[in-house]
Structures are given as structure tokens and as C-alpha cells.
Symmetry: C2
Subunit: 302 residues, 2 copies
């Protein structure tokens, strides 16, 4: 098992003093550039809840890690080190090989070093804990009144695919193989205010920014970018506002900085005094059906 895990670091620059195979990994803080902060995020994914055991092992590995890495993007950080807790009902060599393939491709792509883990037997579940670095950590509490609200990419694709399996391959891809938006995160972290990744749904996640910043948000449904095919679905606004699972970024910027935005970013509203998220469609306020995905009660991918 340990050799399989070690193989995940092939092609990755090892920045640790000691990696997998001891009681703990060792990192020399001297490798952290002056002025950078460390950010640490963790996620649990449980079979039957966050993914189906029928999903391919490669998709499961990809998504479990992508979700975790997306928290780094949300912080304006780049991931550097990872630990993995893998719980498996049985040792299935082929499953494991595919899972490691899905995880390994992301680790290589983003040069993240696996420094430790624990593999044990039990109901299928995965927990990742990632440590990243950034000179500009982005908090949910840093939004200001009159800042613009920006989202990356298109929203609602993953939620559409969940309800309409196999219908649109682009949406399917978004659901099963989301990619953390480090491209956007790195481009905006110097001037963005608050930032979050949209895991639980736009309204729910933007609501977190509102709550943490003591402000309200007003967004325009008609401005939110969505895949053309989704709009034919009767539930399209639900997918867009409450769907989640797209792992796009939502962040705030000063109006003067709008010209600094990279492509694939869209202004969808602004922060204002008050509390909560209000949604307008063609300047008419609309009522929200549901606010987002709760793992239990408000404590989810945090």
C-alpha cells in the first residue's frame, strides 16, 4: 500500500524533509517564502452521500481531491502538501489503481506533495487535508459595502448533470471532474475582497460571505453565466442559484478594479448594507425555493 501511495509523488517536487512512512511528515518552515501565510483545509467525502460507489474510482479520486483543492483556490492560495485518509471496504487492486490515477493527475498538475495518510478498512470514505501557501489569504469576512460580486465560469452545470445524468457531456464533466479555479484565484487575489468557492450553491455560499462580512448581497439572476442547454430546463434557476458542486469562485472587488478581472469572470451583483442574499430577475425580486446543500445544518464544506 505504502509503495502505491509513494507513487503519487512521482513527477512532483518534494518540498518536505520527510514524507510518507514515518509517524509524521516533517516540513521545514524555511521553505515558505517571506510574507506568505499557510492555509489548511480538510474535507470528508462519504460513499452514498458525496459520490456513488458506482462512480468510477478515477472520478471519485479526482473529485474528492478537487473539492479539497478548491478550498485553496477560495483562499487565494496554491496547494503544496496533502494528507489522505482512505477507508476501503476491501483491498481491490484495480479500484485502488484507478483511484490513485484520478488523485495523482491532480497532484502532478498542481505539484502537490502527498506527505502522509492512513489507509484502513471500513465503509468507503475519503478525507483529504491540504496545506497551501499564499501572500494574500482571502477570507469570507473581507467584503465591503458597494463592492461588486463576481463569479467565475458558468453555474448550475453540475446540478443539471445530477438531475439529468448523461444528457450534456459538458455538465457531466463539471459534476464528475470539476477543476479548482487556481487560474482565477491567482489572477484576482491581490485585489479581491472576500472569496469563497461555490460548493453548496451560489445563494448559500454568497450567504456565508454576507454573514461573515455583516452585509447583504443583491444579485441578478439574468446576469449569471450558465450553459445554454441548461436554460431549456424548467428548473434552471434552481440549478444556478442553489445547485452547488460546480467549484467556481465567488468573490468581491472594488468597482474601480473591474478592468483587472481576467476572462471567464462575470459581475452578477453588489454588496450592500443589511443581511442576506436577495435575487432579482430582470429587475424583479424573486422568491428563493431552497438555499443550498446542507450536509447537516449549515456546517458543510468548511
Amino acid at each position: 500500500m505504502i509503495e502505491k501511495l509513494r507513487s503519487l509523488n512521482e513527477g512532483v517536487q518534494e518540498r518536505s524533509l520527510l514524507g510518507i512512512g514515518d509517524d509524521a511528515a516533517i516540513i521545514d518552515p524555511q521553505v515558505i517564502p517571506q510574507g506568505y501565510k499557510m492555509v489548511i483545509a480538510t474535507d470528508t467525502l462519504v460513499a452514498g452521500r458525496h459520490f456513488s460507489e458506482r462512480d468510477s474510482a478515477e472520478d471519485i479520486g479526482h473529485k474528492a481531491l478537487a473539492v479539497n483543492l478548491s478550498d485553496m483556490a477560495a483562499m487565494g492560495a496554491l496547494p503544496k502538501w496533502l494528507t489522505m485518509n482512505l477507508t476501503l471496504p476491501k483491498v481491490d487492486e484495480q479500484w485502488l489503481q484507478e483511484f490513485i490515477g484520478g488523485v495523482g493527475r491532480l497532484l502532478k498538475r498542481y505539484q502537490v506533495e502527498l506527505i502522509g495518510g492512513d489507509t484502513t478498512s471500513g465503509p468507503l470514505a475519503i478525507a483529504f487535508t491540504v496545506i497551501g501557501l499564499t501572500p494574500h489569504p482571502k477570507k469570507r469576512s473581507d467584503a465591503q459595502e458597494n463592492e461588486l460580486i463576481v463569479v467565475s465560469g458558468e453555474l448550475g452545470s453540475a446540478a443539471f448533470a445530477l438531475q439529468n445524468p448523461g444528457k450534456i457531456s459538458h455538465c457531466e464533466q463539471q459534476l464528475k471532474r470539476p477543476m479548482p479555479r487556481f487560474d482565477i484565484s491567482e489572477a484576482v487575489r491581490e485585489f479581491a475582497g472576500a472569496m469563497i468557492d461555490i460548493s453548496d450553491g451560489l445563494v448559500a455560499d454568497l450567504g456565508h460571505i454576507c454573514q461573515a462580512s455583516g452585509l447583504a448581497a443583491r444579485i441578478d439572476l439574468d446576469k449569471i453565466p450558465i450553459h445554454a442547454a441548461i436554460k431549456e430546463d424548467a428548473d434552471w434557476s434552481d440549478y444556478v442559484l442553489s445547485g452547488g458542486d460546480d467549484y467556481q469562485l465567488c468573490f468581491t472587488i472594488q468597482p474601480a478594479d473591474v478592468s483587472l478581472l481576467p476572462s471567464d469572470c462575470t459581475v452578477i451583483g453588489h454588496m450592500q448594507a443589511g443581511s442576506g442574499v436577495s435575487v432579482y430577475n430582470n429587475n424583479q425580486p424573486i422568491q428563493l425555493q431552497r438555499s443550498g446543500f446542507d450536509h447537516f445544518s449549515g456546517y458543510s464544506h468548511e
Copy 2:
């Protein structure tokens, strides 16, 4: 849920820039003293495998965390920050309160800050990831020929209690409420060679030191400290050599440093050229029945 988790930091010095409740926690590396290294360890504990669902929630919380903190002791480090992945079949307020009580007492005692987590629903399991600091990280690979092998405390108590539930309260305590040996770890980390905590059994864990250091170990069963009551059990040598779960420390020292050992430490053998662990009893070599507890195949509490 998040308020419950926050309560775990009451009475703990918060060293993070940002703790629970955002996409990630933020730590300023400047809080790490000059010359110190970071050590990171993770453990998964699954109901039915590492503990029984019939165990008290407080015991489960205590043990899950103690096992993880013990990895810090094994590295010669003190724990500073913790993330927790908690998977629960349902939200049972009383269970949760007791679990948090068991976790919280250890966090306060060792001044460890909970900086993040993920609580989700699914089969009962807990994963902890701990970050600690030390000026002298202890690796398994740092044993040298002719060094003495030392263990802390008494061995076999937890294994005895597992086979003989309720018989000896001291052993019961050792099984359900083990305490990481930071007292020993801090006292010996400046002069110890290799160090490991005995989670999987003395022979198995000392075997890890042998393998990592490219050496053999010879230990004397008759020198290993055990609780008097255990010795009346026919399987006492199995408990002592292969039992594990005591979370005592095993480490090597130069013979000249034996006078530096704190109390509750016992020399049980020495490192020598070769490979593997050989066990003698009153100078007669003995055959080993089993080598230790495998979660799967040699990759366990690492």
C-alpha cells in the same frame, strides 16, 4: 454544529490568524520559533474496527485524539493545531456533547487549537490531522548500531484489557484512555536516535525502526516492564510483544546517555547489524507467534 466545534477552543491559546468557519484556516509561519520544524500526522478511526460503537462517546473522542497526538510524541514534537473530520450516522446531541468532552479535555491539556474540520453524515468514523512543532524531529531511520533500545511505561496493558474486559481497571484505562507520552518525548528528544510510538505492538513497531535504519534489534522479554497482574495470564508475552495500543514510546539512545533517561523508561535491548527483531527470554531466543496488528498490510497508523 460549528458553535459546538468552536467551544473546543475555550481555554486554548489560539495561535492561528483564522480558525474554524472559512474555506480554510490561516496560520502565520512567523509564530513558529526559529529552528523548529513542522510535523504533520493523520489517523483514521472507524467504528467496529478501531473502537466499538458501544464505547462511550467520551472514550471514543479521547482515544481517537490520543492516538493522533501520540504520533507527535513519537516525533519529539508538541501538537499545536488540529483538524477533525467527523462522520456521524445521525446528529445525536448527547453523544456529540460527550464526544466533544473527550476531545476537548485533551486539547486543553496540551493547548492544541482546533482550526478546521468537516462534519458529515455517514458510518461513524473520525479522522484527525495534527500539526506540531519541534526543534528535534525524531525519525524511524535514525537508529545506530549498538544504541540501546528503550521503552516508556509498561507494555501489554491495553492488549490484556481487550481480551479481558473489565478485569483490571488500570489496563482498562490504558486501552480506553491512553495518554500520549509528551513527558518522555520532551525529556529525551535532544539525545534520542530513532523514536516511534507503540501502536501496532512492540515487535512490529521496533521492526519499523529496524527497517528504516537498516539494522536489527535484539530485545529481552524479561526486561520489558509489564503490569504485575498481566503476568498471570497465559498469553502475557503475546500482549507485551504484539499487543500494541498502549501508545508508549520506543526509542534508541547512545549507551553513554543512559543516565539522562527520565524515570519510567527501561532499557530492553540494543540495535545491531542485520535485520529484523529477535526476542530473548532469560538469554534463550524465543519464536514469535504474530508480529502485530495490521489494518491492511503493513500500512497502519503511519
